[in-house]
Subunit: 136 residues, 2 copies
DNA sequence: CTAGGACCTGACGTTGACGTCAAGGGCAAG
DNA sequence: CTTGCCCTTGACGTCAACGTCAGGTCCTAG
């Protein structure tokens, strides 16, 4: 499979695929004339890489954890890194939830007929807002 | 309050505060000699700004939504933007959850005595993994 | 054989939220 | 007065994940 097809099927640009190779995340074969030749599994691999990028992991970290995916096991250090990243992601999710709740509070505020600058925001509620359910 | 104290109390750098002002997110007073003079409420405001930055909102968007915070109500467009950002954040949380589950699967894999490259990863499980509870 | 599309390498451009350095001004203590 | 810390503006540096362009190669269809 050539680079264009992988790009199409994985939903990324060819530039991104070359970048991933440059970063040591994929190692496609080469034809005699120098063109990249990807295995079928490359599509899934690229999608997984994308997923980690989306989660905010830098390429260096992804490069470190991919061997675990390939070999199916990892050294203790690799294991610690996986756990650390998992925790980072969990923390990021909490931050997102807090921001979303803040937005929900604003939306709620905007929905009110605004009697007179109803409070419930400026006080200490920015972190402890208890996840109200507001739906459009 | 001068810039250094605000920076300390809000947990950001003075550079960041000047950047926020440059981006139109805060408008501190000025003393006769040109030094910035912040109100007490600036600390909370900066923390809120930080929260939105952490959630991935660009400064331009934050600038648009801050008037809603200040006035306590918003135009219909502002309301639509708030809802759009809320949805973006929700989507980002889903992406994070998927990546975290992928990492959990890897961690689980690393915990196994690795009998023979146990599957459960490469197949279609990257999005539908059912949030197993693994704790260090 | 030739047109045109896909591919190659190399290299510079982009964006956002700041970091960092340079060169000076303001201000309370001693 | 001067020492020293905080403040000012201005401007360039950074980092990551690519986008984009340039100039050349490969390959397949007609």
């Amino acid at each position: 499979m050539r680079i264009g097809e992988v790009a199409d099927r994985a939903g990324v640009s060819t530039r991104a695929l070359r970048y991933y190779e440059e970063q040591g995340l994929i190692a496609p074969e080469r034809t005699g004339s120098g063109q990249r030749s990807y295995a079928e599994s490359a599509v899934e691999r690229v999608q997984m890489i994308q997923q980690f990028f989306t989660a905010g992991l830098p390429s260096r970290t992804i490069r470190q954890l991919l061997p675990c995916v390939d070999t199916g096991h990892g050294s203790p250090e690799a294991f610690a890194m996986l756990a650390a990243e998992r925790d980072r992601i969990t923390a990021a999710m909490a931050d997102l939830a807090a921001a979303r709740d803040a937005l929900d509070a604003l939306i709620d505020l905007a929905h009110h007929p605004t009697p007179e600058h109803c409070p419930a925001l400026r006080d200490p509620a920015w972190s402890s807002y208890d996840a109200g359910l507001v739906r459009a």
